[in-house]
Symmetry: C3
Subunit: 345 residues, 3 copies
């Protein structure tokens, strides 16, 4: 009798496992939908935050290859730490400062400066590892190339291994997942108002962070508003149903979280403006006057941040500034993603 019950129990556990298996069967991580149910993902994040080494045995004899086409501080450190939390070996490969000298076409006589074809390079790299992380920024040379995530997708298509983005041309999903974890930890009401605000910056920056933040907030249980000057409209793929408010001060009213970020023109309304700086309007800098309009909002930014361009010293140093815990959560988001990929191997 007891024996029978045990069998049922086993069957029941097996069903649950199969369900989670399908949720967790992660082969790529490039956007919010790769995570499946966000409540499940968040509960995994908090489980790992309580005990970072809980799944240390998962990564035994598994190697994580981190390929950097662009410089990195937070991503390099937090992703290495995450892989080690899971017991993986890590190999870091720095590809010469953004240079991707791989031929991608067939039929080309390769007598120029490209010394290898991606059809050889990617499978070879993949043959020495189990999971691949790729960092490859937007180049602003060609909107099409950036927005089709040419390089990241080459790795997905030709490596035969699970691939995760460590910030690609149009998305930074490890950052956005860390942001979501942070909002979940600090929110003071069930459905907080979250405002993504553009702010000025001296250089032209990619849209990866605001795109992914919008991507995540649209699926999270929040009241999401985007505010920016005219011409800075983000790609509809990421904005989806979000409210866009061109009056920054109005957007800030009653906000529980302010997420500031600069980005260069996404070229949605005018493709010729793609990658251009359309405004350096310093009235958009988040200062105490801006914050006074909010519901004592928390301040967030992905870092690095230009002080007194994006945000004033007072705001970023205030007790409601979350920039440091937000960055620390990068280790947690990366650990969840790598754990999922290891489980799916």
């Amino acid at each position: 009798m007891i024996f029978l019950r045990k069998s049922y129990l086993k069957l029941y556990i097996c069903c649950i496992e199969l369900f989670f298996k399908s949720v967790e069967n992660m082969r790529t991580y490039t956007n919010v939908f790769d995570l499946g149910d966000l409540k499940t993902a968040l509960s995994e994040a908090f489980e790992i935050k309580k005990d970072r080494y809980k799944y240390e045995s998962l990564g035994k004899h598994k190697t994580c290859l981190l390929i950097f086409f662009n410089n990195s501080l937070r991503t390099r450190l937090s992703t290495q730490k995450a892989a080690r939390n899971l017991g993986m070996d890590v190999i870091v490969l720095d590809v010469n400062q953004g240079a991707w000298k791989l031929e991608t076409e067939r039929g080309v006589v390769m007598d120029g400066d490209k010394s290898e074809h991606l059809l050889e390079a990617i499978p070879v790299m993949a043959s020495y590892c189990d999971i691949i992380g790729v960092r490859s920024f937007a180049r602003f040379e060609n909107r099409e190339d950036d927005y089709t995530e040419k390089i990241l997708n080459q790795f997905i298509q030709y490596s035969g291994k699970p691939v995760f983005s460590m910030e690609a041309a149009t998305g930074h999903p490890l950052q956005a997942f860390a942001d979501l974890i942070t909002i979940e930890e600090y929110k003071r009401k069930e459905r907080p108002k979250v405002v993504l605000t553009w702010a000025p910056h001296p250089r032209a920056l990619p849209q990866a962070v605001p795109n992914s933040f919008a991507d995540f907030m649209n699926e999270a249980d929040v009241d999401f508003v985007i505010t920016h000057p005219h011409g800075y409209e983000l790609d509809p793929k990421f904005v989806r149903g979000a409210k866009v408010e061109y009056d920054q001060l109005k957007a800030f009213e009653g906000a529980d979280f302010i997420y500031a970020k600069n980005w260069a023109c996404p070229g949605v309304t005018n493709p010729d403006d793609y990658g251009k700086i359309l405004s350096k309007d310093m009235s958009w800098t988040v200062d105490t006057a801006h914050m006074a309009l909010t519901n004592n909002a928390f301040f967030m930014h992905c870092l690095p941040v230009r002080r007194n361009m994006i945000v004033t010293d007072d705001v970023i140093e205030s007790p409601t500034s979350l920039v440091i815990p937000e960055a620390a959560n990068r280790e947690i988001s990366a650990t969840v993603v790598l754990k999922r990929m290891l489980e799916a191997l």
Copy 2:
């Protein structure tokens, strides 16, 4: 009685172990002869390929120092992986882009740009590790310096530690061993015909790969032929008794394996031509017409490869192209070599 038999068995095993010990007492790895009996080496390779972590306990508390004077992708990744397969710690040292600013002479007043003498630098590096890998390409400045393997031999002479080549000026024995493993895996007859063919390339390349390939094939159980235009004769030290056929098409007839590679003039017949490009004859590019002459040969290349210079897209993408499994075997050849060195410590 049974007890006695066990004793005999132990003694017998002990003898076998001693025999292998002598074979495996590897202190340097620079050429085929360092491997000892190739059949034994191959059987170790296949044993490791079946279970890469089988000897994981061998490298406990041992550190492998990988010194790169030149860039590397395959070698960097595969050698790190190999060392980790064996449980070793790995420290990677990138020496500024080929700059070997070490004084090597005595009596020199070191008031110039050389800040250290090799007699200090090498023993110090060696003091923090157990095994050293060195990558240092031919410089084409001086044939004598390249062909005496000046830098590699300085490490062998002054480090007091086992040293293995991760591609030196005139040899790439980890590549050649991986090639041998690949040929053994794919051969369809006991003694296949293997052809090393020169092919055109826009830049002047060292002879390390063809030299080591010849070095290995001359000792392997294969029918070995080398083909190249006049003037490209490889050093007799590596060619040994191999057949050299100047007519490429004739060489290809009935071949089971085609190994393509470019190399610049080895300067054997005319030392003044050392490192020069004597030919860019595109009729040497390996295409389907060439392959049609063979016994449905497998195509091999060490990578990176210039498509449509060395080989056409059709040939390298064909089902008989082995370039990817060949690269993947780099992990296996490196694991065997490091295992041998660990056993000999």
Copy 3:
């Protein structure tokens, strides 16, 4: 009765442990005083030298972040090895060749080339690790900045983590501790005479090594003498009660250890001379004639060394040259320091 004695013994051991705990409660390592009692530190060093992996379990699930603002060979290798001896994970971060593009002031509109404020950068780096090592040389731009150890102290102040120097602007305490270990190993009398001598060099070098050597020798049980040309006076903070002898030959008389090193003008007597080369007097080069005046002294230098500027070939290659064992002891000094920091976590 025996039970009672055991209790007393336990209490006694507990007291001893508490005493050592306080000595070992290391949160920073920048100078000799951070080590506490030198005899205890030396006995720990020799314990570790006998069994480098004795404390391997201490570093489990701990991460050591090594930040290099300047190039490094010995420090990079020996510190990584030390951390691994203790079972720590190591993450190496190379900051672009000495560039410390962090804003340090408040109120600055960051629209220039500084992309991050140290108040964000340092806590974030710290959030991914448990212990931080920093290498940051003197820049000779501003004596005040160098001698207040601006960068190192920013890490100490803002990281919230234990921080150790891997050579800072004015000190190199891991080197000096290794030097002390070496002197203790080789000394032939209870209180040897140790001479720190300036020697010529083609470039302007920081004072980190001589400063720390003086710092350590002043606390060690040695008869310590410093000799250098006029104008090269080291900072009083490090010289303390040491004897300064301007006649090099007189200083060498009866010495048991000669520690040679170049340094540029420390700017003590004339701040305008800070970082300048005041002398290239080759009569200060340590040769056999110099050494003949000593008590068959051992020769020491931290390396890298310019031969025939600092020291002749004959002296550095003589049986009493300790430069290699001295460098090898860098692994030991770093292991002791990291062990102390791990115990204090």
